[in-house]
Subunit: 579 residues, 2 copies
Amino acid sequence: MRIALAQVNPKVGDFDRNLSLVREYSEKAHLEEADLVIFPELVLSGYLPEDWLLREEFLKGVDETLKRLVEFSKEIDPVLVVGYPKLTEGGIVYNTLGVIHKGKLLGEYYKHYLPNYGVFDEYRYFGRGEHLLTLEVGRGENRTKVGFLICEDIWHPTLARDYALLEVHLLVSINASPYEVGKFEKKLKFVSARSTDGLYYTAYVNLVGGQDSLVFDGRSFVVSPQGQLVKVAKAFEEDLLIVDIEPQNTVRSRLRDQRVKEATICEGVSEEVINLSVEKELNTSSERNGIFTYTPMEFEEEIFKALVLGIRDYFSKQGFKRAILGLSGGIDSALTAVLASEALGAENVLALYMPTVFNSTESYEDAKRLAENLGINFRVVEVEPFFERFEETFKNLFPDWRFDVADENIQARIRANILFYFSNKGGYIVLSTSNKSESAVGYTTIYGDMAGGFAPIKDVYKTWVYRLARWYNRYRGREVIPQRIIEKPPSAELRPNQTDQDTLPPYEVLDQILQLYIEENLPPSEIVKRGFEPQLVERVIKLLHRAEYKRKQAPIGVKITKVSFDRDWRIPIVKRIVF
Amino acid sequence: MRIALAQVNPKVGDFDRNLSLVREYSEKAHLEEADLVIFPELVLSGYLPEDWLLREEFLKGVDETLKRLVEFSKEIDPVLVVGYPKLTEGGIVYNTLGVIHKGKLLGEYYKHYLPNYGVFDEYRYFGRGEHLLTLEVGRGENRTKVGFLICEDIWHPTLARDYALLEVHLLVSINASPYEVGKFEKKLKFVSARSTDGLYYTAYVNLVGGQDSLVFDGRSFVVSPQGQLVKVAKAFEEDLLIVDIEPQNTVRSRLRDQRVKEATICEGVSEEVINLSVEKELNTSSERNGIFTYTPMEFEEEIFKALVLGIRDYFSKQGFKRAILGLSGGIDSALTAVLASEALGAENVLALYMPTVFNSTESYEDAKRLAENLGINFRVVEVEPFFERFEETFKNLFPDWRFDVADENIQARIRANILFYFSNKGGYIVLSTSNKSESAVGYTTIYGDMAGGFAPIKDVYKTWVYRLARWYNRYRGREVIPQRIIEKPPSAELRPNQTDQDTLPPYEVLDQILQLYIEENLPPSEIVKRGFEPQLVERVIKLLHRAEYKRKQAPIGVKITKVSFDRDWRIPIVKRIVF
């Protein structure tokens, strides 16, 4: 039996696009003589439509798309498996998997386990399924029983076990599993163990592409009943993965042979005990020989590709081509420019260098050098004349005037004014250059450097910004990002001789505290036990929570961590901060 | 039996404040010789803590507060009923009601029905309860069986019916029910019907106060077993409502007398049939005599008070006193100034009039007059010199320069710069003056008039802004808001002779379309059937959805409608717009 995993990139509400994708990949699968072609979760609607799922016209649109697809299925041989939201007559919407063949909707499976944590709110939209679905494909020796799951379902042991009891030979899992750094390896390991337990192949089909702050990394894969990774699709790209599934009898008899071979070791024990001990052996051997043959992608490369895809799809799915950003000569805007030029093409990126008296000559040189290296457009717009005008006025308005944070912020805000002026005039999307560390502690100017339509590195910790910059130069084999940008002490250059470390602890320390608190959800007392100063931990957590009102107004960006500040961090503004 | 409904205003995470409130109101109830004092849902933690509920240190803090409260209960006579989140040993958190008396936690009830729609995400945080809880209070004739529910529970018939089967005489419902215009009357009607069905008193205790974008309106109440409104607490203020509950026997025998009296009408029918017909009579009579004696608050007054409380608590719970806003001479900033001065005191409000060449003399006069009428601080900061400087520079930067939306927006953004400069220098919170209609269709400048720490009228439709302005002058019995502000055609005054209706349909039409789409969730085809031009409906819905990226960056404001743009409107930015 031959299966095709169609890892495609749909768009929310774009039924024509999504249907075209399904047709295109089905036709490819047909040419490859696949028996089954499998698409991701909610492929017809796009993932996640959020409150569009509460709207009648949206659900009707999906239903019409499904009907067109059923009609199309007459033209091809493979059985189609697709995901979509379905409004039932009882008025409940289910996250549904449909099996379609030759003009007929053969059966439907409703998702059982609805994730309602992190970025997920599926209880808001869907009812819970209660029935399993199996399908027999092929004839004679090749007859294969297939079972179906949707995303979260596979993480709950009961359903996978039920399919094992039904003796399915292939478990199909359709997914829209958002990218997080390090998550893929965990997923692979878990699904592998599940396949071993259930003695079936698992075909795990994932979405690919960017949707608002989420990026789907693709990497659909098939594991064997022994837990071995058979094949994996491309990361961060559309792909069609063709895999041949060995017949159930062949697999089972080989496993039986193996069992008998191993059973000879245990002399003088009953059949029952042998079986038990051998099953244990098989599990262990699958863990040894299975997924560990997979070589994980490098930390920096994986994040970089996720960010590039997130930016590209944010633009292309909205019909935008051009980005503008302020290039300061610092590391954050440098990395943002690199990402934008990789995602959109250098010719579509405009960088403005906008100095005041506090910006060093080195900053100008570094910004210019980087722009040249990338081949992006570069212009200088002097901010100093505006800044002077504001300061003159303000000195008259405030009798006790002295230079303080207000005067720092105004510089960042004038820059935002200029960027948005260009945006209005030239159809650019403004990219904010804020990173996760500064967004966490509020070390960023609201309506200033925070401003933008999209914030590519908003979920990237400052220490990771450095790692990505260094990695990029290695990856390109040349000093695209001038070494001086990477090495100089970070500074907002909003007052004389300013550095970030005048105000903040070193980023190595700050990022560790933030990660333990935000990603690991550790209580402060536990963080202190890991060797950080209690006063420092308290200060960081207070800064973090006091900046909530700023984060609520931040542009969205690409989620790459377990807990990003977009959909998965929900903290009130008004509160007393608890330790 | 005497009960006390303690309608208090807690703050998220402020355990000391919340405990003090509970102690203070318990002591008052003690002095009033109440048998039972009832506090709202999650009173010890504040409502809603959101993701603080996932943090160990927070749940520990709640637990310690509960222990302190149990200790305190030794000092008073009434039985205490309080709400709090409870982490159980299984690692599940329940939305809990605790019954405390004389140093003992007598019993706990876990919320059964978890709302997960609109602004609610309770499945994210809580497990579902499975047991009922009853308590017998008093002795002899006054012995009263009490049942308990939490908020959403009362909307599901099964639990209320179960308590009826258990023959409780008082159903206690503790709530954190956010304000929406018109919701209170629906609630009253529903709870009244439930009491009639179950033949018990219902004591409905609601939270009061503002928390981020939510306002709780209080108006706790008690209805009798005949569905009559016995007493209702203050709206939008803390209150202690004391109600005497008639003994069960007295109530039941009176109902029986009434039944017998009415039964005499039905001659020659069996006892069983009489009972049936009489029960029907009682239901009907309760609907006639019950809640309809309540006079609803005026539409404008209710909204106005909700907005004032929302602003006041946003400031006071964060320790802020002073607000700043741009006063343009238009209706939106006028109403915002009125609300701010009512909420914070006129002396704490600073209004800046910031003209460019496009602002009329009338606008200045109107702004100044309003400021004088309110007694708020008023300053003029000329924007024209900044605007000129920007325009000169931009004319040089863009060879084909002509005045367009970029040049309109820059004026609004300079104003935001100035407001935020004052905010940084003087500790003011900037109030955004955007209303719901313009926020819906994107007729607002991001980082311009949209900018602010808080947006008091963001959930108020433009036609409602006018209604509130007119009502306020009536309410104060004088022309506080100059009539000219109310009567002149609305204009952003960002180009010569501009009015909103150059770009938008009349607000009377726009608001109706928006309300049908947003609040009523009607599909566009249905809106057209109500008599609106199909092209106009399409245009409005497209404008609405294209402005999503702006709304994602808007400051929060007070929710007053069924679907506000804060927590209860979740629409992707990247999408194809569906009709």
